[in-house]
Point group: C2
Chain length 629, copies 2
Amino acid sequence: MSRIVDTSSSPHAKLDSVPLSDVTVDDGFWAPKVKVNRRRSLPHQWSECVRTGRIDNFRVAAGRKAGEITKHLAPDSDVAKWIEAAAYDLNAEPESPVAAELDEVIGLIAAAQDRCGYLDTSFQLQPERWWTNLDHGHELYCGGHLIQAAVACRRATGDDRLLGVVRRWADYVGGIFGPGGRPGTGGHPEVEMALVELYRETGDRSYLELCSFFVEERGNTPPVLNGSPYLQDHLPIREQITPTGHAVRQLYLCSGVTDLYAETGDTSLLAAMEKMWESFTTRRMYVTGGAGARYEGEAFGVDYELPNRTAYSESCAAIASAQWNWRMLLVTGDARYADAMERALYNTVLASVSLDGRTYFYTNPLEHDGGDALAGNRGSNRRTSKHWDHVPCCPPNVARTIASVGGLVYGRTDSALYVHLYVGSSARVETGGTAVEVTQKTDYPWDGRVEVTVSPEKKARFALMLRIPGWARSARVKVNGRKAGARPVPGSYLKIARTWAPGDRVVLDMPMPVERLVSHPRVSSNAGCAALQRGPIVYCIESADHGRADLFGLALPEKADPEAEFRPRLLGGVVVVTAGGFSRPAVPGLFAVRKKAGGRSKKVKLTAVPYFAWANRRPGAMRVWVPTA
Amino acid sequence: MSRIVDTSSSPHAKLDSVPLSDVTVDDGFWAPKVKVNRRRSLPHQWSECVRTGRIDNFRVAAGRKAGEITKHLAPDSDVAKWIEAAAYDLNAEPESPVAAELDEVIGLIAAAQDRCGYLDTSFQLQPERWWTNLDHGHELYCGGHLIQAAVACRRATGDDRLLGVVRRWADYVGGIFGPGGRPGTGGHPEVEMALVELYRETGDRSYLELCSFFVEERGNTPPVLNGSPYLQDHLPIREQITPTGHAVRQLYLCSGVTDLYAETGDTSLLAAMEKMWESFTTRRMYVTGGAGARYEGEAFGVDYELPNRTAYSESCAAIASAQWNWRMLLVTGDARYADAMERALYNTVLASVSLDGRTYFYTNPLEHDGGDALAGNRGSNRRTSKHWDHVPCCPPNVARTIASVGGLVYGRTDSALYVHLYVGSSARVETGGTAVEVTQKTDYPWDGRVEVTVSPEKKARFALMLRIPGWARSARVKVNGRKAGARPVPGSYLKIARTWAPGDRVVLDMPMPVERLVSHPRVSSNAGCAALQRGPIVYCIESADHGRADLFGLALPEKADPEAEFRPRLLGGVVVVTAGGFSRPAVPGLFAVRKKAGGRSKKVKLTAVPYFAWANRRPGAMRVWVPTA
């Protein structure tokens, strides 16, 4: 029963999720990506883990191999995320190409664990260094990832070897930290959400209490992490209402706090999270769903500081946003969180991996000048697999996210069936006192028409909750060919409550015009520019589609009338947007007096491709925000 | 004979400068600033040096006081720059308010010097640490500043006590480094230009050779500074043709290399400097003359990476640009360097100090959202004097620059008298075989009319070279009421060669329309925006002039017809620019579909003030680049 966050017994969650194993994704968009993830990414990531010593580290720690631990930053977490990804993938396709590796590594991890319960290969053989650097040592972070991996394995296959390991670890950690033990919390949040899931999986409340302890330690006097805003230790958790410091840390922390709320119902925590989310999405989030404006500290900037070229927008931060939004959706049932999750998933998260599944972006700028990183550019326009030699936090994070997507499509309560994401798929969901077979047929995200078939085993009364995305301003819905009662409201769930019979057919039609977005004027980096979006997909223009034109000379006039067109052979099959644009006259030098800027504008046909698919052709320049004059 | 860079005997310099002591500045613009610098800044900076232990450090190092050296980064350099500033100031006004302090500190420095010649209070008492950290130890940097201070003292008053100290230091350093000694060069360039001046002042060629050695060490194999681009050690000096790494380091290095060329005539050095300058001014310089786009590393970004809000643009980097451009002007006689120097001086350098001369900006953003630094903003909109507790490199650097301005106004050769800057002043200049009294009457930079009176002691033939700034596209000139022969060409010197008689009067009239600048399209941070410039002054809009309007909602339409108006009581007396603008409708949320952005534009009168004068009223928002729609 591999749920992606299991709120099925959480007293303060509005929604339950549907186990990955009960969902089959068979569409033209995600299914191929899940397949590439399985066949290419997972084996490649394993071999990189082996090549870079991350697997041998467990052998050395276990005394099964001579030599030294290979030094990396939090190497065990990379392996743990890979295990989690492989475990999710088993739900969709039991014939895993990495089944033997998965089995082997679990054994190695178990062997590496210290008798006391300690487990972290970076420090394993030097007990004097244990817990000496909570700020940057990543021990609780690695342990958290191992818990998530263990829970995923247990839920996927019932294999609870790793769960035993992490219970021993968590019991040991609970004996060190906590009310009776030493103060402290993890410099990189992660263990919080892991401990809540461990509690859910085992029923052992001490894990939830340990999570609560770690959350409440923040902002204490004396401080446990130097009071650092970078590490979210600057304020007590309920006063942290603005995304601050390291973006991944911030959003992982939010995920853990939201999980904690789901179990405890402490509304002051939820209130803080709601304010944090408001601040994030209305002042500090990229249109691509990316988070973290600054390279320095991989951190959030101030309000409206959203530079395009030097955007940090780490892949892991977009994943973290998706994770947090998923949890906010589960606890509140509010569609705005699904909108934000979709924005992160379909744009930045997917952009971070190449179409062939082997190379990755660590940062995701919204503009690139076309030069390579050696030229001193901050974000690269070439994905790479070299992260494995340094900090490959993103690749296995992307892998586990893609492998989990089937688990994000549907939701349930005892009286409602939720469709969160529009993905061609079928699923078995228990609601209204019966098992319901639900299927979607759709070409989403390229087309807004979705056919949902609802087949309860027996006639049953429940509500079908269809998400109406915020962009879908003229959605229409029919049930068995007849107009449904309620009016679809963008940014909410459309409730269709009725007695459902096998084969009932719902057609949701969401026209997908190309939309031209403008920014709040305080986002000065987007002044005079527009971005194109169609459905959930944010577009960009790339050099590859514009011959020899300087991409920075191109403009999209106010009156351009963009058109959408599906190109099956382009970039794995995508809808491109074309529009009548123009090439602006050159400016002599760096600055010039307006009247001298002269020369004539030339008409140019602009072709925009989905942002997530950029940098899969010849390297060049790219822009999401395009000048309008 | 206090020249600001003495090229009077340099075989490969085209121009000689005119000693500060031969120039009297008596205008309404600079003279008050020089006075504030003398009466407010110099005493205040001295007391800060005392308060923060920088003066006591010399006492402790000399064994005259018990206690420990107060730790700062390169603290001796701050004192040295202050000495240089105080020495320059003596040329203009012998009754210095800090004469006693100047005398005292020179004695302290002499007492602190080690018998071997070593001198740097940070390491003085720990000989085992001497020269162990060339990258970041700043020993050569501090020594270089002491040399410049010593040369300035000698030139100002003939006091050569400090010159003796720095000669002993330089002789000692020359025995350690060099062809027969150890490899290495300074991580922070500065000693290079200092050593050339020491050579000029003493005639001892070994100082020039040591400078050459330090310059040629860069980019060697094996590297002396880890091959670091940040430290300009990534390439041999002749291959360094793009501004790279730490902006102040880069531009100080350029100054030293240019000085070296002036003496050696190695044209390969000049060629590299010319390419470097082209790259700097056409791709990596702010319209305010600022340098250094990035906070991380206080460094240059890539081409066209010139963000406004997160601009680093350190005050010292603009000063460094002015210094380098001054040297390029001296060696080439090319007016474009005077243009660039003027841009840096009249905009970023002056912006870095408050009108009252006591508080400073370290960074000079081109846009500010109005929040304070505690909110996490990068650049502040409040100047401060707190730098003294950390790294106060900028305040005394600004002080020595302002104190030196009289020395930048005029130039000479044996057959020509140059007017580089238009500043109400009088000077005595030797040319055409006679002494010439030259005066300027002008309200520059507020007005482009300049009356130059040329009074040779006896009739003499020489050329008057009047700089026609790049912005002056319709300049006219009359000599004794008659049109002069040659046509003024923007960005060049207008040569008026004739036999001059006492009282000859030249009137240069440069109309100063308000100009609307646009950026090269690759400067995407300025897309859809214009900047206002009038004469050499770059303007900005500030909250203080716009009531409750959100500064980020204001726009300057293409058809606005800006007007200029002198306001004697505003900000010490400045020309403001007003224009009919409008307030754009708000955008709901962070991004919105264009058609929804609706609402009505409202007419607003825009008032722009000189950038250099921003942040002298109530703290608020500021923008140099203003949206046009």
